[in-house]
């Protein structure tokens, strides 16, 4: 279970719409409860570092941006819980490319942006054997 909260959800939607027809991406910060439930309380938008002509279907968060986000999380007393990105004119489902490049533990939030308007938003976690993504319940 991951809770995004209305403000975070709206912010991710807005980033997806702003980046359209390219993909947006960013880091989700928050905390993990004793029962393993995750609550995202802040996001850090990151410039999609893929080259021109590829950003419409690919994103990358460079390791330097990742380290900066980790430092910011520590400063705020939070953890890096995962990452979000948009799928312009594609479903909010992880692709094989997403799976091949994913890490365990993290939550991967995907927002579908259809013709410039954010629609479905989903959250996923990678199986320990990397064979598949599990869809996680995504609440307010």
């Amino acid at each position: 279970m991951i809770s995004l909260g209305r403000a975070v959800r709206l912010a991710i939607n807005a980033e997806g719409e702003r980046a359209y027809p390219d993909e947006c991406c960013g880091v989700m910060l928050g905390s993990i409860g004793e029962a393993g439930d995750r609550r995202v309380t802040a996001i850090i938008g990151v410039e999609n570092a893929r080259e021109d002509g590829e950003r419409y279907h690919r994103f990358v968060i460079e390791p330097e941006d990742f380290m900066r986000a980790e430092a910011e999380a520590r400063r705020m007393g939070l953890d890096v819980l995962g990452f979000y990105h948009s799928h312009p004119d594609h479903p909010a489902e992880p692709s094989d490319y997403d799976r091949e490049h994913a890490m365990p533990f993290y939550s991967y939030v995907i927002v579908s942006v259809e013709e410039g308007t954010a629609s479905e938003l989903t959250s996923w976690e990678l199986a320990a054997d990397r064979s598949e993504f599990f869809r996680m319940s995504c609440g307010e």
Partner: protein, 96 residues
């Protein structure tokens, strides 16, 4: 004295919760390989099916990405600190 490898949060489930481990090797590549031998469940997350370090796994020697040094062949010495840092990538099912 071996080198120290700093483990990102995402991979600590495979290192018994340890945030840093010790590994021996004359190069960064050897040290990471020795680390993967010690914690075999982590191997699939570091290396692809052909045994090459995954493209999104970055190794920093101090503050420098070894890609900007000599790659996996970057020499390391006792007491050096290697940090594993993922680049986060993804995208739609549309092929490149």
């Amino acid at each position: 004295m071996p080198v120290t490898i700093l483990i990102p949060t995402a991979l600590r489930a495979f290192t018994d919760g340890r945030s840093e481990v010790q590994a021996r090797g004359a190069t960064a590549g050897e040290a990471i390989a020795a680390f993967a031998d010690d914690y075999p469940d982590i191997r699939r997350h570091l290396y692809d099916d052909s045994g090459v370090l995954r493209s999104f796994i970055n190794v920093y020697l101090g503050e420098t990405n070894i890609k900007n040094l000599e790659g996996a062949g970057t020499p390391v010495k006792d007491g050096d600190i290697l940090m594993l840092v993922p680049a986060i990538a993804g995208g739609t099912s549309e092929a490149e």
